[in-house]
C-alpha cells in the first residue's frame, strides 16, 4: 500500500485530536466568562450617552475577543508539544508513518479550529447583546422625544445606528482571528526550539509586544530617520525578525464605523498567510531533526 507524502485526512485526524485535547484542558470556560462580561458591559454605565454606551460595549467585547484569542493561541500552543512528550503521545504518533510536518500542521489547525469556533460563539453572543442594547436604547430615546417627527426619528436612528450592529463588525472579528493565527504559528515555531513551556510563553509574548510596535521601527528604518549605526541595526533586525501585528489592529477604527473593504481584508489575509507559511517552514526545519 502506497504511503502518501502528504495526507489531508491524517492532518485532519491530528487536528481533531488536538481540539479534543484542548477542550479537555477546560480552556473554554473563558467563553462563559466572556458572555458574563459582555452582558455586564452592555448594561453598565447607563448615565453615558447612547453612542458611548454602545461604543463601550464594543470596546469591552473586542478587548475580550483579543485577549481570548491571543492567550489561547500562545498558551495552548506552548502546552501542546510538552504535553504530548509527557504523555508519550508524540512517540505513538511519530512511530506510525506520520511525517513530522503533518504533525505540526495538525497541531496548528487544531488550535486554529478551537480559536475560530470560540470566536464564532463569542461573536454571536456579542452581536445578540449589541443588537438588543441598540433596540432598547432606541426605544428609550424615542419614548422620551416630545415630538416624534420623521426627521427627529431618523436623526436618532442614525445616531444610535452608527454605533450599533453592522456586518462590518464581523470583519473586525476576522482581523482578530488572523492576528491570533499568526501568533499561534509563531508560538509553534518558538516551541520547536524552546526548552520549556514557560520559555515559549514568555518569548512569544515578548515578540507579540514588539510586533505591535514593529511598524514604527520599520518605518523609521526604511525612511532613514535613524542615524546611529546601533539604533539602525537593532531596528532593522527587529523589523526583520518580528511580524507586524499592527496591520491587524483595524478594530479601533472598525468600532467607529470604518468599513473593511475587500482590498483591506485581502491584504490582511495575504500577510497572515505569508507569516503562517514562513513560520511553518521554519518550524518544520527545527522540528524535523529535533531529538525527542
Amino acid at each position: 500500500m502506497n504511503h502518501a507524502a502528504f495526507s489531508p485526512a491524517r492532518v485532519w485526524t491530528l487536528a481533531a485530536a488536538t481540539v479534543t485535547q484542548l477542550v479537555r484542558m477546560k480552556i473554554l470556560v473563558f467563553l462563559l466568562l466572556f458572555c458574563a462580561v459582555v452582558v455586564a458591559a452592555g448594561f453598565a454605565f447607563p448615565v453615558l450617552n447612547p453612542e458611548h454606551q454602545l461604543k463601550l460595549l464594543k470596546d469591552v467585547s473586542f478587548g475580550a475577543l483579543q485577549i481570548f484569542s491571543l492567550v489561547i493561541g500562545i498558551v495552548a500552543t506552548a502546552l501542546l508539544l510538552p504535553r504530548d512528550l509527557e504523555d508519550r503521545t508524540l512517540y505513538t504518533i511519530l512511530s506510525k508513518p506520520v511525517p513530522r510536518h503533518e504533525y505540526l500542521l495538525g497541531k496548528l489547525l487544531g488550535v486554529l479550529a478551537l480559536i475560530g469556533a470560540g470566536l464564532l460563539v463569542m461573536d454571536a453572543a456579542f452581536s445578540l447583546v449589541l443588537w438588543l442594547r441598540e433596540k432598547l436604547l432606541l426605544a428609550q430615546i424615542l419614548a422620551g422625544l416630545k415630538a416624534q417627527t420623521p426627521e427627529a426619528v431618523a436623526q436618532v436612528q442614525e445616531l444610535v445606528g452608527k454605533q450599533g450592529l453592522t456586518w462590518n463588525l464581523h470583519l473586525g472579528v476576522l482581523a482578530v482571528f488572523l492576528k491570533a493565527a499568526v501568533v499561534t504559528a509563531l508560538a509553534l515555531m518558538v516551541s520547536c526550539f524552546a526548552s520549556s513551556t514557560l520559555f515559549t510563553v514568555v518569548v512569544t509574548f515578548c515578540i507579540v509586544i514588539i510586533g505591535h510596535g514593529q511598524g514604527l521601527l520599520r518605518e523609521y528604518f526604511l525612511q532613514g530617520k535613524m542615524e546611529p549605526f546601533v539604533e539602525k541595526g537593532l531596528s532593522a533586525l527587529l523589523a526583520v525578525l518580528t511580524p507586524d501585528l499592527g496591520v491587524f489592529d483595524v478594530i479601533d477604527n472598525v468600532v467607529n464605523g470604518q468599513v473593511v473593504g475587500p482590498g483591506s481584508a485581502g491584504y490582511m489575509t495575504g500577510i497572515a498567510l505569508t507569516y503562517i507559511t514562513g513560520y511553518m517552514v521554519v518550524s518544520h526545519l527545527l522540528f524535523v531533526e529535533k531529538e525527542l
Partner: protein, 256 residues
Amino acid sequence: MKRPLQALLVLLLLGTLKLPLEQAATAHLRAEKLLTPRVDLGLRENLGQMGFAASLGGLRSLVASITYLRACGAWENVRWGAVDSLFQLTTRLQPRYTHYWDEAAWHMAWNASSHYLNNEKLNPALREKLSYEHVLRGRDILLEGLRMIPDDARLWHTLAELYERRDIQPAKAAECYLKVGELTGNLRFRRLAGYQYAKAADRALQLKGYELLMESYRANQRPPSLINTIKDLELALSIPAMLRIPEARVAPGAVR
C-alpha cells in the same frame, strides 16, 4: 547543525521579503482609514508615546474607553488638571474618534473656563486669566484634533462656536462655519459665517458677510435675524437704495 542554520536563513529571508509587503499593507489600510496614521512627533517622543499606544495593540480602544470613564470621574470631582491629562491620553489612544476631541475641548473651553470665571475665591484678574487660558486650551485641543481628522464637520463646528462665544474672534468663527458648510453642503452654515463676518470691524469682511447673507436671502431662507443683519450691513456698507432688500427691520419677538 545544518537544519537550524537553514531555519535562520529562511527566517531572515522571510523577514526581508515581508518588509515591502507590510509597508504596502500599512499604506493601504491607512488610506482606507482603518489604521491610525502616525504623527510625526520626532523619534524620541514617537517611541515613547506612540510606542506605548502600539504596545497596547488591539486593546487601545478598550483602554481609551477606560481612560474616558476616568476622565468623567475627574470631571465629577472638578479636577480639571486630571480631566485634561486623561482626555489627552484618551485622544492619543484613539485620535480618529471625534467625540473624544469634542468633549475634551468642551470640558476645557466651557466647563473649566466657566468654573474659574465664577470662582469667587480667586481674585478677579486671576479668574479671568485662568478662564481665558482654558478657552485657549480647548481651542488647542480642537486644532490638534483637526490635524488628525481634518474633514470632520463636527470639530469644525465646535471650533466655530468656540471662536464665536468663548474666544470672540468673529472672522475666525466665520472661516470655521464656512468650512462646515463646505463639508456638509448645508447653506445654514454659510449664513452663520455671514453673521460672524458682519460682526467684524474690517469693511472687506463685512462685505463678504453681506454677500453670504444675501445668498441665503436669495435662497428664500429669511429668518428675522437675517433681515436685521442685512439691514445693519446695508447701512454700514452704504449699499445703494435700489439694491437694498424691501423688507422692514423685524422687531425682537415679532412673528413674521
